[in-house]
């Protein structure tokens, strides 16, 4: 039994944000503070009394009150329960002898640490005197060996399962076997030959050498084997460790493979795949693994699901040690559903599940299929002073006062449904032309090319758009077409959405409301007649310094379906949501405007890492249905936080700037300014949705 403050997800958030200054985060809520210290920090009532400065009797009554008022829910910790459920399901479904599933919440430990501890715990109870244990290699195996320590076992032998590698990683076959042997005080039998040799004849010769022959013979005597399972994903250790050369030809030969065990490739059903390595591997064979009575695999990671599933299907594993997320993934990949992890008060239907009957959304439409074209017809008429069709279609629009001789042309574009993105930013000082696609879908290359050709005035053209695979490909094709006509095209994609990918993968992030700042900076640079290379550099710089986090309260709904694209529970919000309803990083209970603002500001500042005295441009953006009133409330708190951090808001805007149809929600964008960016931001612009000067 364990306790959680509030509902499950909220508690997770609480602890995630607990690193900052204590105890301000509790406000003046002593009940919450006491509950936290007692249930989450595990302090005694006396300690708490001392810390808070009240009597122990008061603490006891606080804790009782907290339960009464629902601040604290006593529940069996769902994550632990879930991992038990998953372990049992895995065992049944795959006929395993045993299965250990590590709970997902690792308490801040790395996945390998958790898995290693789990592996060590399992091995401690598995290994018996007189064993001959084969040991594979890899991070998981080494992590388990390093956390294992068993004394007093007699006559245990550890056999290195594959030959040696020259890889410059800590988890080579030899290192894993040695670590395991040391941990259980066993005799270690290495394989004194390379794991993979260049030619078959060489293998045939080496395995006849007496020491190697003897060592390999001991692989026939294994009663247990411990091994990892390699995925074949691009970031797999199989390649990064140097165990295998990752050449295209090599990959081609094994294109049907989903994983590898001890250097042997297997397909999704766990069958061996023939290829260039045949006859060149020195070490345990798949048949030998399958014939070993106890076959313990230690492997986790969502990207390993296909590989682990294949190994299970092939019968190479009868004891599995993994984590909850991976275990659930394996089961659902094999068609067996596990109860959702979320044990929140209200069940959360996932995207695409059956919707409640009430969910037809009212909209002002004629024929839904005509929505985009009719909206464009209206917009072009509305903004006729600023823009007109390039040719006869409203899918490619050009600024009336935009392109001019010697000026770099700026072409932006993307799907419909984000108004005023993108056509609202076409005009003097910003974009020269815009290509428009269907709802949430990239425009085809045709209109992009039309725009490109129309704005080219001999100085080249910059393509600037959000980072989505569809947009990237269509703009890329249009750029190829333009280049064939001798038009110089550079491309910059916006990647301001923090939640869409990790900081290390900045280039993989999507572009959202931060578009506005990047468009503005690039447009100003064009208007000042800077050369294409410099415009491109400035656009990249603006993008690099722009960060956005979105929060959704309700899904948007597409004109054609009039149904929510995803479902949020009654009391839920989604942090990090994308402008097409892409799932965010966190689903949690709805918080106050101030707490939500704090969540967003924390994320932005931790990425931006500004110094005291820095200036930012601020954009408070409605995702569609959230009114300006709420933006102001959030913005007020954002400013308080920035002020406290010593950051000044040099420029700011609030309103509808990059929407997601009728989504209820908002995003906060900050661009870290310097003199140059501020100057370009201040440069005059005159467009339907953005005017400066």
């Amino acid at each position: 039994m364990a306790a959680k403050a509030g509902t499950g997800p909220a508690a997770a958030v609480g602890s995630a944000r607990s690193e900052g200054g204590v105890p301000l985060r509790f406000g003046d809520d002593l009940l919450l503070w006491a509950s936290w210290l007692y249930y989450e920090e595990g302090l005694t009532q006396s300690d708490i009394a001392r810390i808070i400065g009240v009597s122990r009797a008061s603490v006891i009554s606080y804790l009782a009150d907290a339960r009464e008022r629902g601040i604290v829910n006593i529940a069996i910790k769902t994550e632990k329960l879930r991992s038990l459920t998953i372990a049992k399901a895995l065992q049944e479904h795959f006929g395993l002898k045993d299965c250990l599933v590590i709970p997902g919440e690792g308490g801040g430990r790395s996945p390998f640490e958790s898995l290693g501890s789990g592996g060590a715990q399992a091995l401690r109870s598995i290994i018996k005197p007189g064993d001959t244990i084969g040991v594979g290699w890899g991070r998981s195996v080494l992590a388990a060996a390093e956390r294992l320590s068993v004394d007093g076992l007699q006559d245990v032998r550890v056999v290195q399962a594959t030959g040696s590698t020259s890889a410059h990683v800590p988890y080579t076959p030899a290192a894993c076997a040695t670590a395991m042997a040391t941990a259980i005080r066993a005799e270690c039998i290495p394989i004194s030959a390379p794991a993979i040799v260049s030619r078959r004849e060489l293998r045939d010769m080496l395995v006849q050498e007496t020491p190697v022959q003897e060592q390999l013979a001991s692989l026939e005597e294994l009663n247990r084997i411990v091994f990892g399972i390699a995925s074949l994903r691009p970031n797999s250790t199989l390649y990064s460790s140097g165990f295998l050369n990752d050449t295209p030809k090599f990959r081609d030969a094994y294109s049907g493979a989903v994983g590898a065990i001890a250097g042997h490739y297997i397909d999704d059903m766990g069958r061996r795949i023939d290829g260039p390595l045949d006859g060149r591997i020195i070490g345990i064979s798949l048949e030998q693994i399958a014939a070993t009575p106890q076959r313990i695999a230690i492997a986790s990671g969502i990207d390993k699901v296909p590989a682990i599933l294949a190994a299970l299907r092939g019968g190479f594993v009868n004891v599995l040690i993994t984590d909850a997320a991976t275990g659930a993934g394996i089961l659902s990949a094999d068609g067996r559903e596990i109860q959702p992890a979320r044990a929140a008060a209200t069940p959360v239907p996932e995207t695409g599940t059956a919707l409640p009957a009430r969910s037809s959304v009212k909209k002002f439409l004629n024929t839904p299929e005509d929505a985009v074209d009719e909206a464009l017809e209206g917009a072009v008429a509305e903004h006729a002073a600023f823009l007109r069709p390039v040719r006869d279609s409203n899918r490619a629009l050009i600024a009336r006062n935009g392109p001019r001789e010697g000026k770099v042309g700026l072409v932006i574009g993307g799907g419909s449904g984000h108004d005023p993105c993108f056509l609202g930013y076409v005009g003097r000082g910003m974009a020269d032309a815009v290509a428009i696609g269907n709802v949430f879908a990239s425009p085809p290359p045709g209109p992009i090319f039309d725009c490109t050709r129309a704005v080219n005035r001999g100085a080249g053209v910059l393509h600037l758009f959000g980072n989505y695979s569809g947009d990237v490909m269509n703009f890329e094709m249009a750029a190829e077409m333009a280049q064939m006509e001798g038009i110089e095209v550079s491309t910059v994609v916006t990647t301001d959405d923090i939640a869409s990918s990790a900081a290390e993968d900045r280039s993989g992030r999507r572009g959202v409301a931060g578009n506005l700042f990047v468009f503005k900076v690039a447009g100003a640079a064009c208007d000042r007649m800077m050369p294409l290379s410099q415009v491109e550099l400035l656009a990249r710089k603006a993008n690099r310094r722009t960060f956005t986090v979105g929060v959704a309260l309700e899904s948007c709904s597409l004109p054609e379906t009039r149904r929510p694209l995803f479902m949020l529970g009654e009391g839920e919000m989604e942090v990090g949501v994308g402008v097409h309803g892409e799932p965010g990083v966190l689903r949690q209970s709805v918080e106050t405007a101030d707490d939500t603002a704090d969540l967003v500001v924390d994320r932005i500042l931790s990425e931006m890492d500004p110094a005291r005295g820095d200036e930012v441009a601020l954009l408070l953006n409605s995702l569609g249905s959230t009114p300006l009133m709420e933006l102001y409330i959030v913005g007020r708190r954002v400013r308080q936080r920035l002020k406290a951090r010593g950051i000044s808001v040099a420029r700011s805007w609030a309103g509808h700037y990059c929407t997601s149809l009728d989504m209820v929600g908002m995003s906060v964008t900050m661009m870290q300014l310097d003199e140059q960016l501020r100057d370009l931001l201040d440069h005059p612009s005159d467009t339907p949705a953005f005017r400066i000067g």
């Binding site: 990207d303 290359p445 695979s469 269509n474």
Partner: protein
Amino acid sequence: MRLLSPILSGLHGRMAEVGVDDIMAVLREASARLASASEHLGQLDGEIGDGDHGTTMVRGFAAIVRALGEVDPRSSDLTTLFALCAGSFLDSVGATTGPLYASGLLRAGAYAEGRVSLPAEEAPMLLVALGDGIGSRGKAVAGDKTMMDVWLPVGQAVKAARAKGAPLGETLAEVKTVAGHATEATRSMIASKGRAARLGERSIGHVDPGAASAAIIIDSFSDILAQRLG
């Protein structure tokens, strides 16, 4: 010229050929099958995407079929045919699927090098070219849970069959089997390209809609060629 080819090949000892009219028949069949699978594809996409894959593929292939109405199979060549298809598909679709299939169709056209027909045993190489074109545009690799998880193994199977000189019928049957199996295999994968990538582990357990539609096209290719040349 294809009309008489069974007789001609008998008379002149020539191998059967796959010509413009055969490919047109394949495309029409694919279009019809995609249309009847539209709802199913939409549902698959609804699980992990925005649910428009079915309508997108149908719209793209309908545009191809419309364009075919103006092709005279007797005076066209395969390269021109595929370029026309690529253009019509792209103009009507955009999004992600548009550039992918357009690039694939263009590559298939480039493979044909202006020929009016290909020897029957060589025809499945068009599938290899299609897959290569899609792959180089989308840059997805095996296991990303995309349509490439069908196109790659299919391409592999075609090349393997060709290397051992398998007759057309055998290759086509093999290709169908591989495509079906590969589609099912996407169930265990985690999406790492496109919009589904944002779902991460939630995408496990669902067949990728792009893989499913790729298999429909490949099946149409196999069935129609088997029927016309078998």
